[in-house]
């Protein structure tokens, strides 16, 4: 949070909301990555880019941008949106 805010000092931040879902335990694996609701109406998910090698290994389409998200994030989407 602090790092993001520091970077935004040079320009006024637009209103945006971040959602974080925490499960029943303190287990870090139970905490979902963030979901961002932006002022321009988008829902942005935090995930990891799927590399060219992973696409090949998993027989995924080679084109288009793809991200991998954790299962807790899917649960969070179902529970929160």
């Amino acid at each position: 949070m602090s790092h993001e805010l520091t970077r935004k000092r040079d320009g006024a931040v637009k209103f945006r909301v971040e959602l974080v879902w925490q499960g029943d335990t303190d287990d870090a694996a139970n905490a979902a990555s963030s979901i961002y609701l932006t002022a321009d109406g988008r829902v942005i998910l935090q995930g990891r880019t799927v590399s060219r090698e992973e696409r090949a290994a998993l027989a995924l389409p080679p084109d288009g941008e793809m991200i991998s998200v954790d299962r807790p994030l899917i649960r969070a989407i179902k529970d929160m949106l």
């Binding site: 006024a12 909301v17 971040e18």
Partner: protein
């Protein structure tokens, strides 16, 4: 919708004394008083004989005497005297409620008395902590309690409802908001970076240039909202945890349903700078009080419209994220409480 197995604030400690005090809580009439050792007691406010509110009666020692025919009830709610009659029916008793006193408030448990563990009382220590200056008050609200919870979880309204005190446009246009949803808790963290301070912050904090402002809202069911709010001169490190040369306050809120359409709103404001400066405490309190009266007008107007058209369709916006999560938690807890009640009844 009421959640019963929770501690609620019933009154300020000063409201309860040796004169019976009536207050409706979760749709039930309750009478409060203190016995001679100072301990608070709560009864159903209805005589077991002919239903007159016991709050119309008076205390005789540790007994509450009904105003109508003089029946006397001891602190357990048992009738112990019927004038002119020696035999007292065992059924001559009134319902009692667990009550306890903490943080200058009297708390009541409206659910199953066997579950009334005082350890479950939500912490509001700022109200009686000598490291903080604090003042608390009460507002009667002509609106459902969840409208008050909604209000405190979405502080963008400060920009419009409270622009003369604690609000300004930056709150709605330039805030970064993080909503952390746990199974039984929602925390909404708002940062407004490098923006002008609102009027109240200028008055009590003396800010002359832009500030970094935070609003961290901690929601605990059913209706407790503890706000960590403040500001520091911009760029001095508040987002990184360095709160220097600024002001930090706690805005403390406990909402108790009176009926489905009216609420008791207990609130307080605490500050950690110059905590023993009573004049400053009063000055801050008055600023917030002004804002809260503005809120009460909003709640009443919302309720009037809801009365005309219950459950109308409504539009949700990004700023409602915390509100929506809190409402889901409350609905789930209500469903669980009802389910448990049905299981108990079936047994």
């Amino acid at each position: 919708m009421f959640l019963r197995n929770y501690w609620y604030v019933a009154a300020s400690a000063a409201e309860i004394g040796r004169k019976p005090f009536a207050r409706m809580i979760l749709g039930e009439p309750v009478v409060f008083f203190r016995i001679e050792d100072g301990a608070p007691v709560a009864f159903e406010d209805r005589c077991a004989h002919r239903h007159l509110p016991l709050s119309m009666g008076k205390l005789v020692g540790d007994r509450l005497q009904c105003h109508y025919h003089g029946l006397q009830f001891d602190r357990t709610g048992q009738c112990v005297r019927i004038p002119g009659q020696e035999l007292i029916p065992p059924s001559a008793k009134v319902k009692t409620y667990p009550v306890t006193e903490r943080h200058r408030w009297v708390w009541i448990w409206m659910g199953d008395p066997a579950l009334a563990d005082p350890a479950r009382i939500t912490d509001f220590h700022w109200l009686d902590d000598p490291a903080w200056g604090a003042k608390a008050s009460y507002l009667h609200v002509k609106a459902n309690w969840q409208l008050v919870v909604d209000n405190l979880l979405d502080l963008t309204h400060l920009a419009f409802v409270h622009e003369s005190t604690i609000g300004n446009a930056a709150l709605a246009e330039h805030a970064t908001v993080k909503v952390t949803r746990a199974p039984n808790n929602v925390v909404v963290t708002r940062w407004i970076i490098d923006q002008p301070a609102p009027p109240t912050f200028v008055k009590v904090g003396g800010f002359t240039s832009n500030v970094d402002r935070w609003q961290i809202i901690d929601f605990v069911p059913p209706a407790f909202l503890r706000l960590d709010v403040g500001a520091t001169p911009t760029g001095t490190g508040a987002p990184e945890g360095k709160r220097v040369d600024g002001i930090t306050m706690r805005n403390l809120n406990a909402i108790t349903p009176e009926t489905e359409k009216t609420s008791h709103y207990f609130w307080g404001q605490a500050h950690d700078f110059e905590p023993h400066n009573a004049e400053l405490t009063e000055k801050i309190f008055r600023q917030i009080e002004t804002a809260f009266h503005e809120d009460v007008e909003v709640f009443s107007a919302q309720q009037r419209n809801l009365d005309l058209c219950p459950d109308p369709p409504q539009v949700d916006i990004n700023a409602d994220t915390g509100v929506i999560q809190a409402r889901r938690i409350l609905q789930r807890l209500h469903d669980e409480e009802r389910a448990a009640l049905h299981v108990t009844a079936a047994e």
